[in-house]
């Protein structure tokens, strides 16, 4: 790990328009999927991103790779602003940033053999110069992810979940990227297999000097592989810290709650654990609360500021170096000056803007999907 910055994201916003209309669709609102995120990833480090489902982790990851158009903000990758690239330059730039997906099967084209999956990216960037070197490269890749050479002729559905994920990783590695965004790389895998993939990722980083952005909702996994962790809540970062620091001393109430909610496979710990139970659910990203996004569920919520003023990510005195938190009262909470209180769960309005309900224009369309 070095101090050299590989990616610098500033004030990144991704707002998905919600379209709805009588004859022609109008935008009647936005899903504030990512709403002003600043984030820096250093060369060779693993940055972990955690948060509840729907808080915008994947969107952030995708926007970073320009797989989703950012609404505003910049993503400077090794000196160039990815958010402003176009056409062929963008396509070329993609070589250095790759992605690993959550669902190992659906992210592989069922009709492509492993060989063609792996060669495709190389071809797109002119890396498959001659047959021999390509074949050699393929062997290397397979070896790197621990798959037998016979895999090349096989098709994705002939592999187990863990093996498929390895294929996905190999595909990403094929174009020799600098950065890999791994979006929930292990959450679809069986627990016993998770470890294999986690270990593989770590190993590859050691050998190839890769930089990772690992997205997961499982804090234990994230903490295990990350150097630094960002905790996201409803489109923005609420806390960022070194992996150990975050666990040692979480500053944001949400981080505290999150940490305390994760069950530990140890009855002794479990029996004695003090849990902070959050009330209610994550509010809809289409209709985020004013002020601090977390104030509707925060046991430490104060009368002032919380529901009016949006806290910025800031360093707190006495905290670990590099630890930043977006809470007005972080110091007081840490010092025990503010006591938690009970929160009545608020109704989370779903309905028209509920992303769970797919939008279709007509019944015929609904039938087709």
């Amino acid at each position: 790990m070095s101090d050299e910055v590989l990616v610098e994201i500033s004030d990144l916003k991704v707002h998905f328009p919600i379209k709805h209309g009588v004859v022609f669709d109008r935008t009647i609102g936005h899903v504030y999927a990512v709403d002003g995120v600043d984030l820096t990833i250093h060369k060779g480090e693993t940055y972990g991103l955690v948060g509840e489902s729907g808080c915008g982790k994947s969107t952030l990851g995708r926007a970073m790779l320009r797989l989703t158009e950012p609404t505003s903000g910049s993503v400077v990758f090794d000196g160039t602003d990815v958010a402003k690239l176009k056409g062929e330059t963008l396509r070329k730039a993609r070589r250095r940033m790759q992605m690993i997906f959550q669902d190992p099967l659906s992210s592989l084209d069922p009709r492509q053999s492993v060989e063609s999956i792996l060669v495709e990216g190389m071809r797109a960037h002119g890396l498959d110069k001659d047959k021999e070197s390509t074949a050699k490269r393929l062997r290397e890749l397979l070896a790197a992810v621990g798959l037998p050479e016979s895999s090349l002729r096989k098709y994705p559905h002939e592999f187990s979940g863990g093996q498929r994920q390895r294929i996905g990783i190999a595909r990403a590695l094929a174009v020799e990227p600098d950065l890999i965004v791994a979006d929930e790389p292990v959450s679809a895998l069986d627990v016993s297999v998770q470890a294999q993939v986690v270990n593989l990722l770590e190993e590859l980083q050691d050998n190839l000097g890769l930089t990772y952005l690992v997205i997961a909702h499982d804090l234990a996994v994230v903490r295990h592989i990350s150097d630094r962790i960002g905790v996201m809540y409803l489109g923005s970062l609420v806390e960022e810290a070194d992996s150990d620091a975050l666990y040692e001393q979480p500053l944001h109430p949400y981080t505290k709650a999150l940490l305390s909610a994760i069950p530990v496979p140890d009855p002794v710990v479990e029996d004695s654990r003090e849990q902070i139970l959050l009330a209610g659910d994550l509010p809809s990203p289409a209709n985020p609360p004013n002020g601090c996004r977390f104030h509707t569920r925060c046991p430490w919520k104060q009368e002032t500021r919380c529901d009016t003023e949006r806290p910025a990510l800031r360093e707190v005195e006495g905290a670990a170096p590099g630890q930043r938190v977006a809470c007005h009262w972080a110091e007081d909470i840490r010092d025990g000056k503010i006591k938690p209180h009970e929160v009545k769960p608020e109704l989370v309005e779903t309905g028209a803007l509920n992303p769970d309900v797919p939008h279709v224009a007509s019944v015929v369309e609904a039938m087709e999907s």
Binding site: H20, V22, N354, V357, H359, S362, V363, V364, A366
Partner: protein, 334 residues
């Protein structure tokens, strides 16, 4: 809900506009032209040219279109070239027959199709299921007009159970109130007339119903099977609910969603099928108006009928969407 309905209504407008352009363009590009058709047997080239000038068919095409649109919007489709009667009144006379036929066919198709589809699903893989599937597959493969003739041949010519065609016995002298023969008989308490009309309906409705019936059976079966595999059915079972309640409350309602859509989509088929069925069974409905109109290139009539067909189709599907909204709260939410 109201907003939902209004929205669906408004959404149909662009479709109908494009349709009107297409219909207009289609008619203008057909060979022969209205004048030729109007003059029929005695059309001489001079007379045709004269008549064309007279009817403004030599004017710029977009002027013709806007005139056409203006008339259509006021419900004026002109007079039929064949009968010289206003097309609208022609349609008015023919509509009841076709509605009666289509509704009867739809009742048959739905009335038998849904239960059969359901039963087939319940006994999936059993004899009944396989027999049902085979029947419906064969049903779809038989050309409608041939089936019509076949039914006629067997049931009226050979067995003499049903009349060969028409809507009602001429000499029964039924009183005409609404134009719907069955309904009229009920309204005027001429039970024999009602019965006679029903008997006349049986064969054509059966012929017309085959394809929708087959489709409905299969969709129902598939969708019941789908629903039966849903998690919430297991939830219902884990509550200890009896099979009838589960069937009624949980399976059927969810399973009906795709069926409702299919029924909507079948209206198009029904209209197309009516052309064939009405011809075979000598029913003076929209289908035979249409067949005759095409044969004799009755432009005013054709444009009215095609527009009407599309409007009906769009409206029916809108109704389906709305009923979908009623059955499924998730749709209503939008």
């Amino acid at each position: 809900m109201l907003r939902f309905i209004v929205r669906r209504l408004l959404q149909a407008i662009p479709t109908l506009i494009i349709l009107s352009i297409l219909v207009f363009a289609w008619l203008r590009s057909l060979p022969g032209g209205p004048a030729g058709a109007m003059l029929g047997d005695k059309a001489t080239p001079e007379r045709v040219a004269e008549l064309n000038a007279l009817m403004g068919l030599d004017q710029p095409i977009f002027i013709q279109y806007f005139k056409f649109l203006g008339r259509v919007l006021t419900g004026d489709f002109g007079n039929s070239l064949i009968s010289t009667q206003p097309v609208l009144s022609e349609i008015g006379y023919a509509l009841p027959a076709t509605i009666e036929l289509s509704v009867a066919a739809l009742i048959l198709a739905v009335g038998f199709g849904i239960p059969l589809g359901y039963v087939a699903a319940r006994f999936r893989g059993g004899f009944l299921d396989n027999a049902t599937i085979m029947t419906t597959l064969v049903g779809v493969a038989v050309p409608v007009f041939f089936l019509g003739y076949l039914l006629q041949f067997v049931f009226s010519q050979k067995l003499g159970i049903f009349p060969v065609g028409g809507r009602q016995d001429t000499l029964i002298g039924a009183t005409d109130v609404t134009g719907f023969a069955v309904l009229d008989g009920i309204l005027t308490q001429e039970w024999d007339a009602s019965w006679d009309a029903l008997v006349h309906l049986a064969l054509p409705a059966a012929a017309l119903a085959t394809i929708p019936f087959a489709v409905i059976v299969r969709i129902t079966r598939a969708s019941v099977l789908d629903v039966m595999n849903e998690d919430f059915i297991r939830t219902a079972q884990s509550k200890g609910l009896g099979a009838p309640v589960i069937r009624r409350r949980h399976v059927l309602r969810n399973a009906l969603l795709p069926v409702a859509t299919t029924v909507g989509l079948q209206t198009g088929l029904l209209l197309g099928g009516a052309v064939l069925t009405e011809r075979v069974f000598n029913i003076n409905g929209l289908g035979s108006l249409l067949a005759e109109g095409i044969e004799r290139r009755d432009y005013p009539r054709l444009q009215a009928l095609i527009l009407l067909g599309a409007v009906v189709y769009v409206l029916v599907n809108m109704l389906v969407d709305i009923s979908y909204g009623i059955i499924d709260p998730r749709v209503r939410a939008r």
